[in-house]
Amino acid sequence: MRKIGLTLGPLLFNWEADRLRSFYSEIAADSKFDRVHLGEVVCSKRMPFSDPVWPEVIERLEAAGKEAVLSTLALPATERERKSVAALCGDERLVEVNDVTALPLRKGRPFVVGPLVNVYNERAAQFFAARGAATLCTPVELPLTSVRTIAEACPDLEIEVFAFGRLPLALSSRCYHARLHGLHKDSCQFVCGKDPDGLAVDTIDGQPFLAVNGVQTLSQGMQAFCPTADEAAAWGIRRLRLSPHTTNMGAVSAIYRDLLDGLIDPAGARSRLSGLGLPGALIDGYTRGMAGCAPAA
């Protein structure tokens, strides 16, 4: 049986350059990821700070034998944002498409379809595969029964599922961090940087609910989809995507590797994840066709 790969997804939050450097150094030195996504996906205003960091991070990861994938912006609108997407699409490395804008710019070269692109059925997956998609990370709300239908119809497309982290649920042109602090997006003072895992949003009755990250809204719960290798293979899954958080991601990758190698079972994996002090309860409802917030089971 083919080994199930582990992908470190693109960082969704606003971290300072020093934190980025030390985080990815540790990933290069001590993690079980075979593929790592780099690049800003959520807000182009963060790019002047993070862009200078990526070349050395990529070099270090590749020297450690990890495949680097360049992720592109999810909601490009301005000319500067479109140029940044075009520049990344010209790269020799694998590129992650997170908006249809990137599709014509990446024409004829292989790419990853990110979970923010709407691929809900096998015909859409075949459409992207015919244009060069090598990997498809399915939308977070897609149930595994649909993932399997897509996988069966697209045997050459590597299917990846979002397995760990706060779920990216929505994008806006409005910045909720700025709005909460009484600022406009154009003069945001980068207040999202105060919340390296996103800012928790509770209901007025105190129920944990969502999290905001600039223009993005995420779940407050932490996706913890924990399949065995046999279960993953039966769903047609060939990669699991783990999304970066401030918790020890090397340890998270080791838990998933142990699970996929049969050293621990799903309950054992969830128990070890719970011990890491994560910023939300473990959930996995979407995978079972339920509300996304349903507790992991």
Binding site: A74, L75, P76, A77, T78, R82, V85, D99, V100, T101, A102, P104, L105, L116, N118, Y120, N121, E122, R123, A124, F127, F128, P139, E141, L142, T145, S146, V147, T149, L167, L169, A170, L171, S172, S173, R174, Y176, R179, L180, H184, L199, A200, V201, D202, T203, I204, D205, G206, Q207, F209, L210, V212, T217, S219, G285, G289, M290, A291, G292, C293
Partner: protein, 329 residues
């Protein structure tokens, strides 16, 4: 040619009301998961659509059919059938979002005019050009994330028509890219054609007043004398960083009537009024009012204090011009 007024028709009677009130075009959907307003009591059977198209065509109005959800994996038949029914009814265009549905329509119904739904969230020349070249899309309904200046720049860079929302409900999120509803309830616009679905709504009374809940999550609370609102997820009050606020959007509606002249100048072809869930009385009044504004703008007259006139029709009496002004962000 006059800027086109595209009006909501949630039911056959709303369609007739909109056409008689002066709509240049109406949009509607079938009574199933193929359209993004899949609510009980709304929408059209194939026969009702045929009758509706005939009624509109006799009065010089066009009918656009929204087939704008994302097809379920392994179950494409409802979407194929909806396209066939729209073509057979002689609809003037279909409004699509899913590349699977777009590809099928372009191949199987080459004479059917295709508009790109707002649910496809195409906001750049590259994305719009891609849909135009690949599927022959003739018009794009722009996501509500662009300012008037950005719309003008976009129209200079693309070769197809644009349609923009001017009135009604307002999604603060980029449409077609929001799973908040399914996170709480299991059902969302992309997978089920509904947002904050009615079967997940409950109101509970206690001494502090009424809590409006969605799948058990409190979306808002109202004091005993206060009118209770529908718990649309992104219009609720939440607590973040110790502050209680309408974090995503106030309970407000879009009203860009005062911007119609600017939108025309920006090269927009059509103006869309949201509200397929609205009754025929509301639709008739709003359409009549907007038609007067459009005619005034076309005649080079001031827009008749349009925003003030429409105030009465706005949810809770509060309105915004949304992303059309950059300060909204």
């Amino acid at each position: 040619m006059s800027i086109e007024l595209v009006c909501p028709a949630g039911t056959p009677s709303a369609l007739r009301a909109a056409v008689e009130a002066g709509a240049h075009a109406v949009y509607c959907g079938f009574r199933d998961e193929t359209n993004a307003r899949n609510f009980p009591g709304l929408n059209f059977s194939p026969q009702e659509l045929r009758d509706g198209v005939r009624f509109a065509h006799e009065r010089g109005a066009r009918v656009l059919v929204a087939i704008n959800t994302f097809a379920r994996a392994g179950a494409f038949e409802p979407w194929a059938q909806a396209l066939a029914n729209a073509a057979e009814a002689k609809a003037d265009a279909v409004i699509l979002a899913d590349v699977a549905v777009l590809g099928y329509a372009a191949a199987e119904h080459p004479n059917l005019r295709i508009h790109l739904s707002v649910q496809a969230a195409a906001a750049t020349p590259e994305a719009i050009g891609f849909y135009a070249e690949t599927f022959g899309v003739k018009r794009v309904v722009l996501p509500r994330v662009l300012s008037v200046e950005e719309i003008a720049a976009l129209n200079r860079a693309i070769g197809i028509e644009t349609e923009v929302f001017v009135f009604g409900g307002l999604c603060p999120m980029a449409e077609g890219r929001c799973a908040l509803s399914s996170y709480a309830t299991g059902r969302s616009p992309n997978i089920s054609g509904v947002c904050s679905p009615p079967e997940a709504v409950a109101y509970s009374e206690d001494k502090g007043g009424t809590a409006a809940k969605l799948a058990g999550f409190t979306i808002n609370r109202f004091k005993p004398a206060e009118p209770t609102g529908y718990p649309t997820l992104c219009k609720g009050r939440f607590v973040a960083d110790g502050k209680t606020s309408y974090l995503f959007e106030d309970p407000t509606s879009l009203n860009a009537a005062g911007l119609i002249a600017n939108l025309k100048k920006a090269g927009v072809t059509a103006l869309k009024i949201e509200g397929r869930q609205r009754g025929k009385g509301y639709v008739a009044e709003v359409v009549r009012m907007f038609r007067r504004v459009v005619d005034a703008v076309e005649a080079g007259q001031p827009p008749l204090e349009a925003e003030r006139m429409l105030q009465a029709f706005v949810e809770g009496g509060r309105q915004t011009s949304g992303a059309y002004k950059k300060t909204w962000r």
